[in-house]
């Protein structure tokens, strides 16, 4: 990717965000019912009309769309239609850092556990570290989060009393959700790492290095590690976007005040602005992290750089 391609990629980001925002805007409004439909009928037609007028829901759809894009351009995602005192910017400013803190820690756990376990499996292929790693990876990949998380709560907080059952605010609050979220991804990373490194270790250039007399440590660290990380990195970009924007299941089980709950709730309550805002921010993060992934590839794998 030369400099011009890079500029093109960067310029495409706002364009793609616009496409996503447009789709989200119209799809949300195509869903039946509106944000102010409740079990109790409004006091009068005038009350209902006033509510709609306050949020410009009485205008033609095209006008609402232009108004929304105008807000977006100014950086205003609008007022939340459900959480009536809060703007969408403000809700995201509160919730996204929490989800991201959890996400970074889970990302660190996934990489920090997955890479060594996977690498050990590839280096000592068929020996006990490989077997142990394989069992752990299978367990991690097979037990879904919504089973693992309650088990962790049952064993480590209600049972042993080591960690709080739920909530957010101190390191002890973070440990169980990070484990619940990180272990699954650690298993995926370990598998990719094991396969990636095993393949690299079989390749001719490693043989050449060995023939040249490079020490086993030198082969692993200087020559094999970088290309072996390519599949891990390809996976890490989308994984990071996934983790940073919050997990519905884990945040719900551990009562973490992140964005996870808003993703589903804002749709069910027809909170048009909050839903669209979440989708816009999520897509932006995904695009940026994909770009970062590509740049990392370039650095890791000279074949891509010179292609």
């Amino acid at each position: 990717m030369d400099a011009r391609a890079l500029v093109r990629r960067i310029l495409a980001i706002p364009l793609l965000v616009w496409v996503v925002a447009t789709l989200a805007f119209f799809l949300m409004r195509a869903a039946p019912g509106g944000p102010f439909d409740r079990e109790r009928a409004p006091a009068s037609r005038e009350v209902e009309a006033a509510l709609k007028a306050r949020y410009h829901l009485d205008e033609p759809l095209g006008r609402q769309y232009v108004r929304y894009l105008g807000g977006l351009a100014r950086g205003d995602l609008g007022p939340s239609l459900k959480y009536r005192h809060h703007g969408v910017n403000e809700i995201l400013a509160q919730a996204l850092p929490v989800s991201m803190t959890l996400g970074w820690l889970a990302f660190g756990t996934a990489m920090g556990l997955g890479i060594p376990v996977g690498a050990a499996g590839a280096v000592w292929r068929g020996r006990w570290p490989d077997w142990l790693g394989t069992v752990l990876v299978l367990a991690g990949a097979c037990i879904p989060t919504f089973v693992l998380a309650p088990l962790l709560v049952l064993g480590l907080s209600l049972g042993a009393g080591w960690f709080p059952v739920a909530g957010w605010g101190s390191p002890s609050h973070a440990i169980l959700p990070v484990m619940a979220l990180g272990l699954y991804f650690a298993a995926r990373v370990a598998r990719l790492m094991r396969e990636g490194l095993a393949e690299v270790l079989r390749s001719p250039f490693i043989l050449a290095a060995r023939a040249k007399g490079v020490s086993p440590g030198g082969i692993l660290w200087r020559h094999a590690m970088r290309p072996a990380l390519v599949p891990v990195v390809s996976y890490a970009g989308p994984m990071l976007a996934d983790l940073l924007t919050g997990s519905f299941v884990v945040e719900r089980i551990f009562q973490v005040p992140g964005t996870g709950a808003f993703f589903t709730n804002s749709f069910f309550s027809r909170d048009y602005t909050l839903m669209t805002g979440l989708v816009v921010v999520y897509s932006f993060l995904l695009l940026v992290l994909n770009l970062a992934t590509d740049l990392a590839h370039r650095w890791l794998d000279p074949r891509i750089r010179h292609a």
Partner: protein, 558 residues
């Protein structure tokens, strides 16, 4: 186990310095959040070094409140917190749920029951120390009834002279509302009809007194203003969405001496299992919201001494769309009502000890004795159905039963109804699960055959249920119109004598249930709270499900 550090005062209301508060764009939000999250990892580690003090009371309040504006809110969770912040002329008694003096220390009612004169307390004050005067009450009432405010509960002002005209826009001059302030310490209210439950209405949130200047200045965010003057027993310290609201005792509240807990943390969450875990681990002192009990554990929890159940003003019923064939025939509706086995529904499905009732108004509402509706009688049901032209269910069209699908309970009830109708009447019903907003839309557009429904009473009087089915009632949503029913309800509400009034209402309800049958009541609701009475006191079961925070306190240390 370490306690959650308390949010610093104001830290979550104003997370950034003023100049940075307007975040620039989704990119801005994302970048800032990325930066804050990296700081957050650090902050989380540092938080270990400064655990804040735990609030005096920590309670689970159910879902995250949508708003704390007492005039706009509709949810129960919202109302519990808003009641702690803003008070009206009366307030709820924590034991009975009846109205007791609030900002008004006394009142006089005219002999025709139409004029109320309230005397405000001399020591009624906002939390910033300024006195609460009659003009504050006047302004608050006019704001709530103004259609531009958008208050869903403004219909409670229809009992006041010109309230309905103002709310529907027929009258524009807010000064015409039948509320005046003869002196700075007295408020005079003129009603349209003698309304025996008016004092209780005044305790509800839509009649709360709120501070004029911050509301006018603050726009949608007025509740979040720093140092907001409150009229109730507590003030708002901080609010972190989907986490917790912290309240602190209002030192200027007229009854501050009887406000028991100095600080309260009100937790919000979606997961009943998590709430239960937090309670069992001792992280929260009690759970107030009935939705925060996993239904599959109901039977096990009911046996525990610290779980308390009580009946309250809630009814679960089935609506008929009386504008669609064959449900336009009351005989068909009655036949279906008589084929359903309510006993099986409460004993096998809901299992929280709900009373199976053939009447709509839960027993005990305002001293009212509800009539018996259509009891189960499969033989009579079959006779009625054949009279209507469908002997043995022959020729009966296939129809749908709509319900909102987010709670499994509704599906189980639907299946029970389906099998009863197939076995007893030989008619075939299909289930139609709907997402919540679609369900509401279909109900108000009359786009259904049968629909599961429920209603929670707003005040302790049968009228809160019976006025639903007035011909012009916005909540009727069955297409059923019955002039005789309207006459009975309206005559009851113009009657001053309590016994005669309740008798008229009972007559109306009997007509609704037995003649028209646009609905089939199934059971009355049961509320639940989790509370170890050896540790926390001040919560009492009552029909209105009102448990004011000011009365709740801990009797034993954690």
């Amino acid at each position: 186990m370490r306690d959650a550090p308390a949010p610093r005062p104001g830290a979550f209301l104003l997370p950034w310095p003023d100049g940075l508060r307007r975040v620039r764009g989704p990119c801005g939000v994302a970048w800032r959040a990325l930066a804050s999250s990296l700081l957050g990892v650090l902050g989380l580690l540092l938080a270990a070094c400064r655990p804040g003090p735990r609030a005096d009371l920590v309670l689970h309040n159910g879902r995250e409140p949508e708003t704390l504006d007492p005039h706009l809110l509709t949810g129960q969770a919202d109302g519990r917190v808003a009641s702690a912040l803003f008070e009206g002329l009366t307030r709820y008694d924590p034991v009975t749920g009846n109205a007791i003096p609030g900002l008004a220390e006394s009142w006089a009612v005219s002999s025709d029951g139409l004029d109320y004169r309230f005397n405000l307390r001399a020591n009624a004050a906002w939390s910033d120390g300024r006195p609460i005067v009659a003009d504050d009450v006047l302004w608050s009432f006019r704001r709530a009834v103004n259609p531009l405010t958008g208050a869903d509960y403004a219909s409670q002002y229809f009992y006041i002279e010109n309230g309905e005209a103002l709310c529907t826009g027929a009258e524009r001059d807010l000064a015409r509302l039948g509320v005046t302030a003869p002196t700075p310490r007295s408020v005079h209210v003129r009603l349209r009809n003698p309304t025996p439950f008016f004092l209780e209405l005044l305790a509800s949130r839509v009649f709360a007194v709120i501070p004029r200047e911050p509301v006018e200045r603050g726009g949608d965010r007025w509740v979040l203003q720093h140092g907001l003057p409150c009229s109730g027993p507590y003030t708002l310290v901080s609010w972190r969405v989907n986490d917790r609201i912290r309240l602190r005792r209002n030192p200027c509240y007229w009854d501050a001496a009887n406000v028991r807990a100095a600080t309260i943390d009100v937790l919000a969450g979606d997961s009943a299992h998590t709430a239960l875990n937090q309670y069992l681990a001792g992280d929260i002192d009690f759970i107030l919201d009935k939705d925060m009990f996993p239904p599959e554990l109901a039977e096990a929890l009911r046996r525990r001494p610290d779980f308390h159940s009580y009946t309250y003003l809630g009814a679960y019923f089935i609506r008929f769309n009386t504008t669609r064939k064959p449900f336009d025939d009351p005989r068909v509706r009655r036949a279906i009502g008589m084929a359903i086995d309510r006993g099986r529904i409460v004993s096998r499905i809901t299992r929280m000890g709900e009373p199976a009732t053939s009447h709509l108004v839960p027993a005990g509402a305002g001293g009212y004795q509800p009539p018996t509706g259509l009891e189960r009688d499969p033989d009579a049901a079959r006779r009625l159905l054949s009279e209507a032209g469908y002997p043995g269910g022959k020729g009966f069209p296939v129809f749908e039963y709509s319900y909102n699908s987010e709670a499994r309970l509704h599906e189980h009830v639907a299946v029970e109804v389906q099998s009863a109708l197939r076995d007893e009447l030989g008619i075939s019903m299909q289930l139609r699960p709907l997402e919540w907003k679609t369900y509401l839309g279909n109900m108000s557009r009359l786009d259904y055959d049968l629909m599961r429904s429920s209603w929670i009473g707003d005040y302790n009087d049968p009228n809160t249920f019976l006025d639903l089915f007035l011909s012009e009632g916005g909540n009727n949503r069955t297409g059923w119109r019955d002039a005789a029913y309207d006459v009975l309800v309206n005559r009851a509400n113009a009657t001053l004598d309590r016994t005669r009034r309740l008798a008229l209402l009972a007559q109306a309800e009997a007509r609704l249930l037995r003649e028209g049958a646009p609905i089939i009541p199934l059971y009355s609701y049961v509320g639940f709270y989790a509370l170890d009475t050896n540790r926390v006191a001040g919560i009492h079961p009552n029909l209105l499900d009102e448990h004011p925070f000011w009365a709740i306190h801990r009797v034993a240390p954690r």
